[in-house]
Amino acid sequence: MKITDRDYLTKDNFSAPESKRGIFTARVVANEPICKEHNRLALKVDSFPASKPGQFINILCSTSESSYPRVIEQADEGQLIMDKANVLAAPALLRRPFSLAGRRKDNQGAQSVLEIIYRIIGSGTRWLSQLGEGEQVNIIGPLGNGFRTDFLQSETLAVLIGGGTGIAPLMYLASELMLKGQRIKFFVGAASKDILPISKAILEDKQFPIIIAAEDGSAGFKGTVLQAWEDWLGRQSLSPSGIVVYTCGPEVMMREVAQRCIAMGVRCQVSLERIMACGMGICQGCAVKVRTETPPYWQYKLTCTDGPIFDADEVIWQDG
């Protein structure tokens, strides 16, 4: 079997035009644990616009937000009946952002199945974890800019470095790059193997170009994903222009990857996470400091619209 035939790879080839973002009702087709700490949620949605790895969706993590009172029926006598159902106790007010971890075409064709991998940390993600198959969720997307792959040459090696939940957007990127025939090396890491958000199919696929790091030594390389990458780098004789690095994970990890890449002269893109209130470029909440050419040599960009993917050398990291 060719690697591009693997069914965990992205199969929706984005035939949709470069259309706009939108608000969609999606149906849950799967919502199950993928490891001890992460769940995988698959959402079926009609005519979802073209999307790119690195983009995200904003999920309304509460039940029905429709307005009240609403007329739902007009009885014969001209009497109007109101829908007084109420949803006063919404568990999470703001939408929650989640990176696309994959996208494929539904068997029937016209619909897309979007995949996210999430970790339960609070009210919104707990609400998500209770969704059953067939239930509906309201999503906005695709949001954000996505990873840039236009500068990859056919012989370039794409190196993906993911830590913990940050592996999610890189899964989508890995799939797309592999389908295009790009050479990749995918480093993933977590404290222990059983909290690594990687599907069994991939773990068992000897041909999948993945290197696993577990700090407790429970799988693959014993140590952090950074150490695994450094170890591998030490054994290569690559020219800086021969590789491009994409990373997502804890900010301290990405910062180290970024600094290492800058020192080596390797092109690197990072996927940043900031607290978001809107995801649409409105609230200005998700500000990130980036370098500029002109005084004062920095400005704020928005993670939700200018990002979440940034070039490593433009980011001015927090606390320094």
Binding site: L80, A92, I282, A287
Partner: protein, 309 residues
């Protein structure tokens, strides 16, 4: 058919629903998500004479049914606004209300003067929830004398546009600044801006927001906003014949109808727009349904009709 149109000091709105400043950007951000042509009026993010980068991160954090923000008036500045955003805004075919702020009374006057000659806009809204640098950094809106000064200065520069003063709720008695604004020449009053608030990160024992404190919005503030709107309408704006634009925690038509019954002529939706852009339309539809169910011909029939017994 129900007539949803309302009139704010001569400004004609097809329906009483508008955006709240800072929660709908400059309109283009929302273009993919909702047809803004269907609302009553558009209110822009607050503009200042010079561009502002805003506060450090973190700037927003969710609380129980609310959102605390300390964005720090990040905006593109008046010149960029006029050049880049006015053309987009004028295509909406709606009354455009430009929210403005300054660090001094003179800045409020100057920015109002510049906007007074811009054909595409219908009104200027003074955001007075900003620190007054010449008076020790106390918010203009927290001191009735400052409210009067800012309003009078803007009034002097505002001859062709409707002048709206947006009140800060961070006062002992909301009717005091309301009266000051009306006496100084405001054509309409809008309220409320966000309530002073803060969140603490208990692990780090530090304020959560980089600015330490911020302003609370969203469903959590709705009953407080309603109380203030009710007070302003019944004891100041109503008797003076000055229209009120109400906002604070509107998410459903019921919330908006409460404001209308309390005396507001129009209702703005802020935080809820950022969660569900289409709620602007849904709330409007819900008001229409309510009017139909109660056999009203016009939304104007219910404004300020709270029953006493």
């Amino acid at each position: 058919m129900v007539d949803l149109s309302v009139d704010i000091a001569g400004m004609k709105l097809a329906n009483p629903i508008m955006t709240a400043s800072g929660t709908a950007g400059y309109a283009d951000e929302l273009a993919d998500f909702v047809n803004l042509k269907q609302i009553g009026a558009f209110v822009t993010k607050t503009i200042t004479l010079e561009p502002r980068a805003g506060n450090a991160y973190p700037r927003v954090i969710e609380t129980a049914s609310g959102l605390v923000n300390a964005v720090g008036l990040a905006n593109i500045g008046l010149d960029a606004f006029l050049a880049e955003k006015i053309p987009i805004l004028s295509e909406l075919g709606l009354p455009i209300i430009v929210s403005v702020a300054g660090k001094t009374v003179e800045e409020y006057r100057a920015i109002t003067e510049r906007l007074d000659s811009v054909d595409a806009i219908s009104a200027v809204e003074l955001n007075i929830s900003c620190p007054n640098v010449s008076e020790g950094g106390i918010q203009f809106g927290m001191d009735a004398r400052q409210v009067a000064k800012v309003t009078a200065a803007a009034r002097q520069a505002c001859n062709r546009k409707v002048l709206i003063v947006k009140l800060s709720p961070n006062v002992t008695d909301i009717t005091t600044p309301a009266r000051a604004a009306i006496e100084a020449g405001a054509d309409a009053i809008s309220l409320i801006n966000t309530l002073n608030a803060m969140v603490i990160d208990i692990e780090q024992r530090k304020p959560f927001l980089a600015n330490r404190t911020g302003g609370l919005s969203g469903p959590a503030i709705h009953p407080v906003a309603l109380y203030m709107v009710y007070q302003v309408c019944s004891s100041v704006a109503g008797p003076a014949g000055v229209p009120v634009i109400a906002m604070g925690g509107v998410r459903t038509a019921r919330d908006a109808i409460e404001f209308l019954l309390a005396g507001a002529t129009a209702v703005a939706i802020g935080t809820a727009t950022m969660i569900n852009p289409t709620c602007l339309i849904e709330v409007c539809d819900g008001i229409r349904d309510y009017l139909l169910e109660h056999n009203y011909k016009s939304v104007r029939e219910i404004i300020g009709t709270l029953q006493d017994d």
